[in-house]
């Protein structure tokens, strides 16, 4: 099936402005970035450039595999869906993600999961991130 997902187009163009990070938090109509699902940090000092960390929408997501309460379930076509009511905040998912894309909501003590909405893309002035279509097998 054909699905849309957020992807990194070219991280070398990133200037570290955090516009995307703030954009994601604005989905909740708030400022700051406590509840942002995307993170940007320098590689090892800003002169070396930045890494942009965001959910890759895995088709076989390790985070969902380790969830003891089925709060986190794999979505058709990739990515995961979080049911916060079931989540007990154990943090297994966060540890399971090899790229560190399961962010954490400190106030609620629950994970923050990218929903692949693409809102952040409109606020990246330097074409670092984009929404791409991809073909996933089966289902």
């Amino acid at each position: 099936m054909l699905t849309k997902k957020l992807d990194i187009i070219d991280a070398d163009r990133c200037v570290g402005c955090l516009s995307c990070v703030f954009a994601c938090a604005r989905r909740y109509g708030e400022g700051g970035y406590d509840r942002s699902a995307i993170a940007v940090r320098s590689v090892a000092g800003v002169e070396k450039g930045f890494v942009v960390i965001v959910c890759r929408a895995c088709t076989d997501p390790p985070c969902a595999k380790v969830c003891p309460t089925n709060a986190l379930v794999a979505k058709k076509g990739g990515g995961v869906f979080l049911n916060p009511n079931k989540c007990i905040g154990c943090g297994f998912c966060r540890n399971a993600c090899p790229i560190g894309a399961v962010m954490w909501d400190e106030a609620a003590n629950k994970p923050i999961i990218c929903v692949q909405c693409g809102y952040c893309v409109d606020f990246c002035p330097h074409d670092v991130i984009g929404i791409v279509e991809r073909q996933t097998e089966g289902v």
């Binding site: 200037v15 570290g16 402005c17 955090l18 516009s19 703030f22 938090a25 604005r26 909740y28 109509g29 708030e30 400022g31 700051g32 970035y33 406590d34 509840r35 993170a39 940007v40 940090r41 320098s42 090892a44 000092g45 800003v46 002169e47 450039g49 400190e106 106030a107 606020f123 002035p125 330097h126």
Partner: protein, 586 residues
């Protein structure tokens, strides 16, 4: 202001007692917004009359504003302190991640008091403050290394600011800077020396939180409008493409680029140190301050071979902008980009203010030419325009201060000239070394009476340029400049970067404040701006600033500006006019 916005929280840190506490200063923020407005109030509270800038009684105030973390380009931190360079109001702004980090840690302002006996660095992580031993960091050769070490040790990657001083700050050079995120600086007026006097090697801040707004829908709409205007604005494109270095060629063309200690106002090699040339040959990376889509920070990549080993190179990233190209390029007659970049790098490593350093070296070169100083003073250095290797050695001597001469240079050009002579070509205003605009009356007028003697106070350099070929009514322009400075108090209280001043107009600011829970009209804002300016001037007068005894270096009358030769008498008239305006204000 939204009742749950943590902006009202002020963190106090006492370095003498190694304690900290948080106070609710809601009334300050409600009346003065944040940034400069809140900082001048805190400075007045904390800094005793006649305080010695390098004694524990001199506080350091950092402040951010209501837009920080909520709207783009509210990315500056305002620092206030008593300046060791001028002995008066010290105010310096820096971006990087500093403003966001302070806001996300949950504060509107931070006050650092007292002094430690031994070197420390302070780490603020949200509500917790840690005093860490910095004895092993004191004396490290490069300010960049210090940051690398702290980066490894402290949590909060991606969410923290690491402000630190170099050896210039440790050794109390009066124009030492504080570096943040390696390429941003609290450059002017010697905050680095104040850090050094407190044995404060570095200040780390980090945090993560949400900021509440009252009207979520309106907030999102206004954000989008602002953001779109910013990324589409041609001015912003200019800052992104070439950065402020874009100004080198146009200023040189009109004869406003101070060259060789302002003996000239055009530089024959301007092309070779221009923004265009640097971008083509050296630009390695562009960076943004946190929450700024423009990304005006330009890093040159300088590749240098190791002498001892073939095909072995080191690549250094060096940030450049117009002010540094002026002070460490044309002012020193440096003829090519590579030589200039090497000087810039040394300034960064030592933690000096680039503008002051360049002006001091330019004075020294002319003083040497004229025989006012000799090789006994300079410890054998032969200052010569364009000789970057000598300049690098001299910068190191300024930091080490091995003799009386270099001690004098470490006190600034005004002091050095008062000891050795050559006042006529010592380019300082209010004891602050001049910025790079030989544009005409308003530029210099701004350096003279602007509350921090910076070109950014009233934007006089830009008024001069706009007046080219038009009527140049100085009487009216003085009023205009003062109004501009008053408005800029609002921008620096919201901590909006001045590059976005064309976007954050009074009506837009009032509109953007609304969904955050503020109720202020453009007129209200104007009044607050004037009030803040008045408070600053009161502080200046309290500490001995006197409009009747301002010194204008004679050199500015000897070299033509785009408006021709300047007339000293006209400045007297402008100052008289300004005095009337200020008296009305106070």
């Amino acid at each position: 202001m939204h009742p749950n916005d943590p902006l009202y929280r002020v963190l106090y840190i006492d370095l003498t007692k190694k304690i900290y506490w948080i106070e609710d200063r809601r009334e300050l923020f409600e009346n003065y917004l944040g940034g400069a407005g809140v900082a001048i109030n805190l400075l007045k509270e904390e800094c005793p009359r006649g305080a010695d800038p390098l004694r524990p009684e001199n506080p350091i105030v950092f402040a951010v504003g209501p837009f920080t973390g909520l709207y783009p380009i509210a990315s500056k931190t305002v620092a206030m302190f008593k300046s060791p360079l001028t002995g008066n109001l010290g105010e310096s702004h820096a971006g990087g991640r500093s403003a966001i980090a302070i806001r996300m840690a949950g504060y509107g302002a931070i006050v650092i008091k007292g002094a430690s006996k031994h070197p420390v660095y302070v780490a603020v992580h949200g509500d917790k403050v840690f005093f860490r031993d910095a004895r092993a960091l004191w004396g490290i050769k490069s300010s960049i290394t210090v940051a690398r070490i702290i980066r490894e040790k402290e949590p909060g990657a991606g969410q923290r600011a690491i402000m630190r001083i170099g050896r210039a700050g440790e050794n109390l050079v009066k124009y030492a800077c504080v570096v943040t995120e390696t390429y941003r600086h609290f450059g002017r007026l010697g905050l680095g020396a104040v850090f050094g006097s407190k044995k404060l090697k570095a200040f780390v801040v980090s945090g993560k939180r949400s900021l509440p707004v009252l009207d979520k829908r309106r907030y999102r709409e206004i954000y989008k409008e602002l953001f779109d205007t910013m990324v589409k604005s041609p001015l912003m494109k200019k800052y992104h493409d070439l950065g402020t270095a874009a100004n080198v060629i146009p200023l040189n063309k009109i004869g406003a680029l101070p060259t060789k200690n302002l003996k000239e106002s055009k530089f024959e090699n301007a092309d070779k140190i221009s923004g265009e040339y640097l971008a083509e040959k050296y630009l390695g990376r562009r960076l943004a301050c946190a929450h700024c889509p423009v990304a005006c920070i330009h890093l040159a990549a300088l590749r240098e071979p190791y002498e001892t080993e073939p095909y072995f190179y080191k690549t250094t990233f060096i940030s450049y902008d117009y002010e540094l190209i002026y002070s460490l390029g044309s002012m020193l007659g440096i003829r090519n980009a590579e030589d200039m970049l090497k000087v810039l790098d040394e300034v960064e490593v030592l933690g000096l203010d680039g503008i002051s350093s360049g002006v001091v070296l330019a004075w020294a070169t002319e003083a040497y030419e004229k025989g006012i100083i000799n090789e006994n003073d300079t410890l054998g250095l032969r200052f010569k325009w364009g000789d970057y290797e000598t300049y690098i050695k001299a910068l190191r001597y300024i930091v080490e201060q091995p003799n009386e001469f270099y001690k004098a240079l470490a006190n600034g050009v005004d002091y050095a000239a008062s000891k050795y002579g050559g006042e006529k070509f010592a380019l300082a205003f209010g004891k602050n070394e001049m910025p790079g605009y030989h544009t005409g009356y308003l530029g210099y007028f701004g350096f003279l009476v602007g509350s921090r003697h910076s070109h950014l106070d009233m934007g006089g350099y830009s008024i001069d340029q706009k007046a080219l070929g038009k009527e140049y009514n100085l009487d009216e322009l003085v009023v205009k400049a003062l109004r501009e400075e008053e408005w800029r108090q609002i921008l620096s209280s919201l901590v909006v970067c001045f590059f976005a001043r064309g976007i954050y107009k009074p009506e837009i600011v009032a509109k953007a404040l609304e969904p955050l829970g503020w109720n202020l009209t453009p007129e209200d804002l104007g009044k607050i701006g004037a009030k803040i300016h008045r408070l600053k001037y009161e502080f200046k007068f309290r500490e001995g600033f006197d409009l009747d005894s301002l010194r204008l270096p004679h050199r500015i009358f000897e070299t033509p500006t785009p408006h021709g030769y300047l007339d000293e008498y006209k400045f007297k008239e402008m100052i008289e006019k300004f005095k009337l305006l200020i008296q009305k204000q106070i």
